[in-house]
Amino acid sequence: MPLNKRCIFLSIDGINFTAGFSKDIRFKAGLDFYPGPFSIYRRIAIIHRRVELPAKKWASFYKPFNLQAHRNSAMTVSFTFIKSLKVSICIACTCMLFSVHPVTAQKVTKDFKANGIAVKVEKNGEYSTGKNQFILSASENSIVLYADKANPVDTGSKYFRYKLEAADDNWSQVVLPFTVKYQSLQHGSFVFTMQSSNDGDHWFETGIAIKLDIAAPFWKTWWLRLVVIFVVLSLVWYVINYYKQKQKQKEEELETELVIVYFASQINKHYHTGELLWDVAKNCISKLHFEDCVIYQLDDERNVLVQKAAYGPKNPVDFTIDAPIEIKPGEGIVGAVAQTGKAEIIANTSLDKRYIVDDRRRFSEITVPVIIDGKVVGVIDSEHHRKNFFNNRHLKILTTIAALCASQIQLVKMEEEKEKAEIELLHNKQKALESRLQSLRLQMNPHFLFNALNSVQQMILANEEMVATKYLSRFSKLLRAILVHSDKETITLKEELEILNLYIELESIRFKDAFQYRINCDESIDVDEVKVPTLLIQPFVENAIWHGLMHKDRDRNLLVQFIEKGEWLHCIVEDNGIGRKKAQEIRGIALNGSKHQSKGIAVSTERLKWMKSSDGEHGDIHFTDLYNEDGTAAGTRITINFPILN
């Protein structure tokens, strides 16, 4: 054992007392208790004195010196180190060896002796004696043991051997004094035993059995293991959870995507807004597991949200809403969302003042607006009896659905408008066709036809063969012209003029030249090229004869004129009859015949509406009442304007 400068040496071997110390550590020693003779005290006092000697000199003092003491007495020597480490050594045996040999300032040597052998155990930290058991910490697993004769004269045995049970397999024979060092002992219990022998063959127990309990290192302690297990388990749990969470998130995302894809595919199928909304409401329940789903659409005209589709306990039947709920914007949660255009999740409706209790309170609600061009056109709303039912995933899905709905509604709207326009176009065409056909039927005014035939009968009865022949041929020409042209929408002006001429001539003959007539046409007009609607003018001419001229006694004139102005053709039908006002007065009991005539005019007027010029203006009719200088009625002028058809 090398001497360290900072070591304290102290040895009491029976009555011998040995002490030494390194230069830096100063100590004082005092005999606290001694039952023995004064001499010991004295010696101690001497030591005490010596302690104050310079350390250098004490360094060479490592030599046991004898101290006479009374046998079988015990004493305690107490050292107080400067670093306030108090060491008490109890010497309880008659034969004592007392030694302190710390490796460092903190190190204290322990010892045990028996059967004349003294064993020193070097250990960290603690110092005690009279013990045969040492509790050592894990870091104190390097142990130095010294053994020497407790009393050189006393020990008769020649041979010694030792063994550290649980560490050494075999006994090691030694000669006293000896030092054995165990390094890096495992934790656990070790027993240092020694045997002695006089002949080397027969061994006897010395009674030295020093038990060394080396604590397990902290990493081998149960609590640390628990901590480690706990930490590992938590880590594992955390990792599993993390992956589970990720997996769940992934699944949810996938599910969300699937739901959205499903909705998208469903939504695209619908070309009717109503059906679309019903389907969305239904799928919200089946795919998102909502309890109910109500979709409102904004009625632009009345500015109210009208329930358009509803699924759930409130409305279990498909496609029917008995009494659609109507909500004004700003009213309730739905109304508020319609106003703000921001989707909302109400986790607890009982905390929301806006919530309107319907049939019963449902505790959570999700409300998402359907927005087209920045304008709320509808609201998707769902309620659930549980609080906090709706989450961000629902919000995400519903928002996407709302956007899909919006685009589909817009698409449907556009389709509908397109369809409507097409229908309108078709309808217009149909209407134009109908009014044309009606007009053609009206041109063949049966009254005129039968009266004409009646005239022929008269001519025959009156033997007016030539007149009858002429009349019949004219009548046939007119009939033929009408029949030939009746399936055409337009005819040339020349053809129209011919028909008018025939008609007026026949009426004139029937009334025995009761009126004069003239048909004028601008020479600039190419009558072969200009097209006019078939038989458009005839009702006006008939009207002029029947209501203008026939109520007049004599000097009856009819003028029909065609004037071209740009792309417009003006037809003027002028009579010098009694005027519209008087004709109106004369009509007492309205007869169906006159109804027929006014109907003919109405149909012609209708036909003119469908005739549009290149700048979009349609044909029209103007009635002008004519007056004499004295203010009396002088007839009527009807101007029919329509774009020239080529």
């Binding site: 049966p446 009646n454 005239s455 001519m459 009865l461 109520h551 007492g588 109804k595």
Partner: protein, 246 residues
């Protein structure tokens, strides 16, 4: 001596009728013509015709207006018209005589014959004429009243009030929704034509039924009507009747 007045604004029309009468109706000895409705009333007053052929559609005053102006119509009126479906319907509903132009000689002769054979009941003619004017003035043909001349007098009723008509040889029996019945000396065929536009259906050759009064068709194929009467439905008409009920 049978005096006749022809009123028509069209000279050729009066001319035709006059010539036809002169040539084919010897019973008529004297014919007067009026081509101006404004003067017709005076001519009637002075000429005192027994029979007046009156055109409906005329300038100034039409035939009905003219008749409304004449207080004592102690002459028989026969309307003439070329074509006026509405007016003709109104006249037919009143069981009034009329002629369509150009005039058929035989029809003309028939009219004159009926006139000669009838007892001159001008009150009935007055009622019928009033009914024509009611019908003409009606806003729609649904308001037309059907004149049913019986021995006691003329009954006027709306077609909707009729439940059914039954043929009894040359007579037709009318069953009304108020339980009354009328026996009219005209064939069912005439009323079939008249009432067809008013939801009447010929279920059988001797039955003309208002569709709206049919309650159901029983197992034997008879139609049970509102008044619990049971009307035969011929096999040929059955589909038509069933169709009408839908």
């Amino acid at each position: 001596m049978l005096k006749v007045l022809l009123i028509d604004d069209e000279e050729r029309a009066t001319d035709a009728l006059r010539l036809m009468i002169e040539k084919t109706v010897p019973a008529i000895q004297q014919v007067m013509v009026c081509n101006d409705s404004r003067r017709a009333a005076d001519i009637i007053a002075s000429y005192q015709p027994a029979l007046v052929f009156l055109d409906i559609q005329m300038p100034y005053l039409n035939g009905f207006e003219l008749m409304e102006k004449i207080p004592n119509k102690n002459f028989k009126i026969i309307f003439t018209t070329a074509y006026n479906e509405y007016a003709v319907q109104a006249i037919r509903f009143s069981a009034f005589d009329y002629l369509l132009k150009p005039i058929d000689v035989e029809e003309l002769q028939g009219c004159v014959q009926r006139f000669l054979e009838s007892n001159e009941d001008y009150q009935q003619q007055y009622d019928l004429l009033k009914n024509i004017i009611h019908n003409i003035k009606a806003p729609s043909a649904d308001e037309f009243r059907l004149a049913l001349p019986t021995k006691e007098g003329v009954h006027f009723l709306r077609p909707a009030e009729i439940i059914r008509c039954e043929s009894l040889g040359n007579y037709t029996k009318f069953f009304m929704d108020n339980g009354k019945t009328y026996l009219i000396s005209k064939t069912l065929g005439e009323y079939d034509v008249l009432l067809a536009p008013y939801h009447f259906i010929r279920t059988h050759k001797s039955h003309l039924v208002n569709k709206k009064s049919i309650s159901y068709i029983d197992h034997d194929g008879f139609a049970i009507l509102k008044d619990n009467s049971r009307v035969e439905v011929s096999r040929r008409r059955k589909d038509e009747v069933m169709q009408a009920l839908k």
